[in-house]
């Protein structure tokens, strides 16, 4: 009976550690620094992409957008110059509804997962996207067709299926915390920590492993690939941070999470932004976000360019 209580900690200890709770995040940070009207900029990937282009932030190239049901079959016309492409919902989140097509023939599409879809099945999928199956709140949606990211080999051994991305939390333009989420057999190739993916906290200055957790418990080796999680070091770390920092000017959001993938040839690219990033990153890092937020409020200068901010972080 009392053993169960041991799973709990005291609010005092959490405060001392500077842990950010959901209520505090929503009240003190999100409702204060993230104006509602800015949400569409990050919730709609079409808008995010257009902005990124404007601000010189690299994202996977857009092939086309499908807006209406009658346009579904246009996809063939759209991708005629590409043998591989990605279809994703504009308002999706967490990789829901994303199809990665590696190749296609006269009658079927080959997915990167090895699955094969008929033309009709692909049309059906796009149609589902348009009717809002994967969008927040089930609103009507658009389908994005974009170029495939060729993931860097660096992460190859660290992930079971799925593709690891780097999540960087940005507060007032300063990257303050980072992690990468590695999918496992248990999480069925998904990158959600509560489903059993491994979260690896990354040192904000170096991009090296800080600590790794699965189901909130620390671990050192990937449960499926046995790769040493302590040895992760994200290459081109400064570029990662820069993309995250630039997204501040891009969107005007005071607090957001930037999801960045590393393309083997093109370097780091921004995948999506999240105006309400989760709090699990604190567990992966073993650090409290509130502490980091306070540090920015008190000590970090304002009015710097993204480059200056990144240099400030790295110095």
């Amino acid at each position: 009976m009392f053993g169960w209580f041991k799973n709990f900690t005291s609010p005092k200890l959490l405060r001392a550690k500077g842990v950010l709770g959901m209520n505090a995040r929503n009240f003190h940070i999100i409702s204060k620094y993230n104006a509602r009207r800015l949400y569409p900029l990050v919730d709609d990937k079409v808008q995010t992409k257009a902005l990124a282009l404007q601000y010189g932030v690299k994202t996977p190239d857009l092939i086309g957008v499908i807006e209406h049901q009658y346009q579904v079959k246009n996809i063939l016309q759209m991708v005629k110059n590409h043998h591989e492409f990605v279809v994703k919902p504009a308002h999706g989140s967490g990789g829901k509804g994303v199809l990665v097509v590696k190749d296609y023939t006269d009658n079927c599409f080959m997915m990167s997962s090895g699955k094969v879809l008929t033309y009709n099945e692909l049309y059906q999928h796009i149609s589902n996207i348009l009717s809002g199956l994967y969008s927040l709140g089930g609103r009507y949606d658009e389908a994005l067709v974009e170029e495939v990211v060729h993931f860097s080999d660096i992460f190859k051994n660290y992930s079971y299926q799925g593709v690891p991305d780097v999540r960087i939390i940005v507060y007032k333009g300063y990257p303050i915390m980072a992690m990468t989420r590695l999918s496992t057999a248990e999480s069925a190739g998904r990158a959600n920590l509560h489903q059993g993916a491994v979260g690896v906290g990354l040192d904000i200055k170096t991009g090296k492993t800080k600590r790794a957790v699965q189901h909130n418990l620390p671990l050192t080796r990937h449960p499926d690939t046995d790769a040493d999680l302590r040895k992760i070091e994200v290459p081109l770390w400064r570029e990662h941070l820069l993309i995250a920092a630039k997204a501040y000017e891009m969107t005007g959001l005071g607090y957001f999470g930037a999801d960045i993938v590393l393309d083997a040839q093109k370097g780091p690219m921004m995948l999506e932004l999240n105006a309400r990033p989760g709090l699990a990153i604190q567990i992966a890092n073993g650090l409290g976000l509130k502490k980091a937020v306070k540090r920015v409020d008190k000590k970090y200068p304002s009015g710097l360019t993204p480059e200056q901010r990144v240099d400030f972080i790295l110095s």
Binding site: V19, F27, N192, N216, I283
Partner: protein, 509 residues
């Protein structure tokens, strides 16, 4: 930060104000309208009948009877006079029957129905008396009287009168008092002697008559002693020595006047019969409000609406407290439920269906619906048609369950009619999407949490006391409103976060 504190301060001020308002209006409603905290539906009502009987002498007749004066100790629901051939006129404390020549036996009835007999205040309004005259006693008796007064000072009691009464009631009787009293005496005589002794000690007093409310008949009314103390007339119960009117005592006549005067008649008697009956509290509320000094209000409240509307409002006014619970569970405890108010809707249906039957029925519908939804997911339908199909399936399931329930006399299945169809369909849809995306464990967890919160809310809103309270003292919904708004500024950790983030403060092994 500054802004944050001012919002919280503002809300706190509003909360305190609303609490004050609700508190006052609760006091007002209890005091003037007689609303009670417990959901009891009935109140005692007393019917009191005074039967005057006398033989007329063939001359003009004038009968005068002391009646209860209006005071806060009770309220009159109905007043009736049966006196054929008499002209009646009412005064503040007497009713007078007059008639031309009458002869033979006469019967007059005066009947009142009273309710809310409260223990009266001990102070009674009336003119101040002149200083009491010293009774005309011979020297020996006067000396005796003074000795008794002196003796009474040693008795327990809050004032001289209580002390004196206690001396009269002491067992055995003090010899000095015993010798002062006649060998045999009636309660009335005893009271007169008390008054005499009070006059000796300079306290003005007089008798009052009333009725102790107990079912049955009474030939003589009960006597009380009135004394002028500290600038006001106060009443004393001579049998207990307590100041103030006893419970359920109806004062009929005061000021030492006679209870019944008959001119033109002889052998007059007055007999009282008392009867208790029960009536609904709401029925009396409007009567009370009319009698209360600041009435007007009651006519502008929901309590004057037709019963059907009142019942609907009663049903509605219990929701805020349920909503408060949902807010607490989500923002303070941190329970993840399906949608914000799904638990609320579940508990509402449970109230309509009954707890266990509703629960079993709900689980059956959701499970059946989920099974059908899984078969449908193979068909790859578009979202809106798919959810619509689930709605239709839920309706069909309810058809089937109700039919089975009726034919096989299974009450549980019959309850299914009361489930909100659209909500149930959405619960099924959400559960199946969570199932597909996050696995059956998470879907089950979400369903379980929603049901759990729904059950907790059910036990609160189905409680008779809570429902009665929130309806009768509906101002408290305003208090809940501000509590909910204040909770909107709560930025501390949620209870579940204490577990979730626990690994952060534990040492890494």
């Amino acid at each position: 930060m500054k802004h944050f504190f001012s919002v919280r301060l503002l809300l706190t001020v509003f909360l305190v104000l609303s609490l004050g308002f609700a508190g006052y209006s609760m006091y007002y409603k209890i005091k003037y309208w007689g609303f009670s905290l417990s959901p009891k539906q009935s109140a005692n009502v007393w019917a009191i009948e005074a039967h005057i009987n006398f033989t007329a002498d063939g001359l003009p007749v004038k009968v005068s009877l002391g009646i209860p004066t209006k005071n806060k100790g009770f309220k009159i629901l109905e007043e009736n006079v049966i006196a054929d051939g008499y002209h009646t006129s009412k005064y503040a404390d007497r009713i007078v029957f007059t008639s031309k020549n009458k002869s033979g036996e006469q019967n007059l009835y005066y009947k009142i129905i009273v309710f809310d007999n409260m223990p009266g205040k001990d102070k009674l309004k009336d003119k101040a008396p002149a200083a009491p005259q010293l009774p005309e006693l011979d020297d020996q008796r006067m000396a005796q009287a003074r000795q008794i007064v002196k003796l009474s000072r040693q008795m327990p009691g809050n004032d001289a009168i209580e002390q004196l009464i206690n001396l009269f009631n002491a067992e055995p009787l003090d010899p000095a008092l015993k010798s002062y009293l006649p060998v045999q005496y009636t309660p009335k005589m005893k009271l007169e002697i008390m008054q005499e002794l009070l006059a000796v000690s300079g306290i003005a007093s007089r008798t009052a008559r009333g009725l102790q409310l107990e079912e049955g008949q009474k030939i003589t009314p009960d006597l009380m002693l009135e004394a002028y103390v500290d600038g006001a007339w106060r009443i004393y119960d001579t049998s207990t020595g307590k100041r103030g009117l006893p419970d359920n005592f109806l004062l009929f006549q005061r000021g030492g006047k006679s209870l019944l005067d008959v001119e033109g008649g002889t052998e007059s008697t007055v007999k009282f019969s008392l009867q208790k009956s029960i009536t609904s509290t709401m029925n009396l509320a409007s009567q009370r409000a009319k009698l209360a000094e600041k009435s007007g209000w009651f006519d502008h409240t929901i309590y004057t609406l037709p019963l059907a509307q009142q019942n609907t409002l009663k049903w509605l006014s219990v929701f805020p407290i349920g909503i408060l619970l949902v807010v607490l569970m989500r923002n303070i405890v941190g329970v993840q439920t399906m949608g914000t108010f799904t638990p609320m809707l579940i508990s509402m249906s449970l109230v309509k269906t009954g707890f266990l039957t509703g629960l079993i029925c709900f689980i059956a519908i959701v499970l059946l619906g989920l099974a059908i939804r899984f078969i449908m997911s193979k068909l790859n339908l578009l979202l809106v048609p798919r959810i619509s199909a689930v709605v239709i399936f839920v309706i069909l399931i309810i058809h089937a369950l109700t039919f089975i329930g009726y034919n096989f006399d299974i009450k549980i299945a019959q309850a299914s009619v009361f489930f909100p169809i659209i909500i149930t369909a959405w619960i099924i849809e959400r559960a199946s999407i969570t199932w597909e995306e996050d696995g059956p464990v998470n879907a089950g967890k979400e369903l379980f949490n929603s049901l759990l919160v729904g059950i907790i809310v059910y036990f609160v809103i189905a409680n008779d006391y809570v429902r009665h309270f929130m309806f009768v003292f509906n101002e408290f919904n305003l208090v809940i409103l501000f509590i909910v708004m204040l909770l909107g500024t709560y930025t501390g950790y949620r209870l579940t976060e204490l577990k979730r983030f626990a690994p952060l403060v534990k040492k890494v092994k």
